[in-house]
């Protein structure tokens, strides 16, 4: 078996942080892979909710979009989208939310709106989607994002989604009821907020990553926890399960669709 890629490290590390039976609001991409890996390994009764309204879904292959038919077919039930946000998310019925972004700052605030000025951006990004309210209402959130000086920045071009705001307890002054980012899983390891300052600090490294690599990848002076753990490498079972999931997914997505010509 080939060694784990950094994507696989990230996915496995994120999956391990999910408790069985937790209710998880899943995003497309790495979070979707991580949540389903958890479900297929140590968390068989995890409840996965995609924002398309599919609740308790158990897809055999990863969806490309947030609303592939696979998600509806394997769901316990499907609700209208407004209900997802009102009854489940704002209703406080979601334990864990997963977020990605184009930029993150040291307090876990996220930008997925624009690079540059809002009115005349150099890069227009897809926008907020569910993120601001996932971040506000889920009991805790995980951010998955590869690190570079362009993505881990001193100052966001636009704050789409609040993490800990200006830090040092600022979040508690808002009416957000969720706890905010518990961890940022990136391609060298894991950051977590300092209990007092809320500033993200390095708490764990992947076995083949170094502190220097981490510092180089982050666009602000990276704080380091008093103890930096080493993330145990993906097990054979984890890797095999993840790779089989991806293989099934590739095969399914390549399957030609019969055009519905009359």
């Amino acid at each position: 078996m080939t060694p784990a890629t950094r994507n696989e490290w990230m996915t496995v590390a994120a999956a391990r942080m999910l408790r069985d039976r937790c209710v998880c609001f899943v995003g497309i991409g790495l979070p979707s892979a991580a949540c389903n890996l958890a479900r297929l390994t140590h968390a068989p009764d995890i409840v996965l909710i995609y924002e398309s309204g599919t609740i308790g879904t158990r897809p055999d292959v990863l969806p490309l979009s947030i609303g592939d038919g696979e998600l509806a077919e394997t769901a316990a039930f499907v609700v209208p989208l407004p209900d997802v946000f009102a009854h489940y998310l704002q209703g406080g019925r979601v334990d864990v939310g997963f977020l990605g972004a184009a930029q993150i700052d040291r307090f876990g605030n996220l930008n997925s709106t624009v690079i540059g000025d809002y009115a005349t951006p150099s890069t227009r990004l897809p926008g907020a989607g569910g993120a601001p309210e996932i971040a506000a209402h889920a009991r805790e959130t995980f951010v998955m994002l590869k690190a570079s000086k362009r993505s881990f920045v001193e100052r966001l071009d636009f704050r789409t989604t609040a993490g800990f705001g200006e830090g040092a307890g600022a979040r508690a002054k808002t009416t957000a009821r969720g706890g905010g980012p518990r961890a940022v899983i990136t391609d060298f390891g894991i950051l977590a907020p300092h209990p007092a300052t809320d500033e993200l600090q390095l708490v764990a490294l992947f076995a083949d990553a170094t502190l220097d690599e981490a510092r180089d990848a982050v666009g602000w002076p990276l704080a380091v926890a008093s103890e930096v753990k080493q993330v145990a490498p993906p097990t054979t079972h984890e890797l095999e399960t993840l790779r089989a999931l991806h293989a099934r997914t590739r095969e399914a997505h390549a399957r030609p669709v019969v055009l519905p010509t009359p």
Binding site: T123, R124, G129, P132, P260, P262
Partner: protein, 282 residues
Amino acid sequence: MAFLSLREAVATHVADGASVALEGFTHLIPFAAGHELIRQHKRDLHLIRMTPDLVYDQLIGMGCARKLTFSWGGNPGVGSLHRLRDAVEHRWPRPLELDEHSHAGMAAAFCAGAARLPFGTLRGYLDNDLGQANTRVRRVECPFTGERLAAVPALNPDVTFLHAQRADRAGNVALHGIVGAAREAAMAASKLIVTVEEIVDALPPAMNGIVLPHWIVTAVAHCPGGAYPSYAHGFYARDNAFYREWDAIARDRATFEAWMREHVLDTVDHAAFLASLAKRAA
């Protein structure tokens, strides 16, 4: 309620400058309706849709839109909507005004529209820049607790287009699977036009299912495959490969325009559009 061809429905009910919502969340996206808007060279549309998707990339790239109300504008699982980006970043083919929300905010706006309330309320837009970027996000104070909550103005499109699995001969429309904000967008609209996979004598029993009754429906157009390359649960799957291919088609203005000409402008209707793709694939 009237049974019309899609061409007739668009010609009769969509004026230049209208606010138009083509809803459906990944599933049941009314592509055929979007293409017909392009074929008929509709202009200055205010497009409304939570997730603009390829169909709005096409409408924007073809110059049909002056304004976009949305909450997430990407090619799901693939990347950017290049035509949307080009319109915002370079004002090509024309400037595009943005009315930008989060999903929760836009869902609340559709719900308010469906209930004919002037605004929707949510605990949202907290401590972020969206509320500044969009002056249509305001605050309302709870008269009981004093808490300040986000308020969004109701969305009431002039015309909502949906694609659904079935209509019966009275014009009752039934849909199932992932429904997104389709029901709310339907109830919020002044006019509702629905393309359907099939027209049947009697809808399948669905006591608590999602039905849009005939007197809410302005027109039904029989349009098999009307959601392709999106999908219709029980009829055909999402063409994920096409969504990937779109990235290359839309990235370049000339490639995009050539594709739109060949497959949309030069096809007479949705059946011909599908046939043109089948020919290409063969």
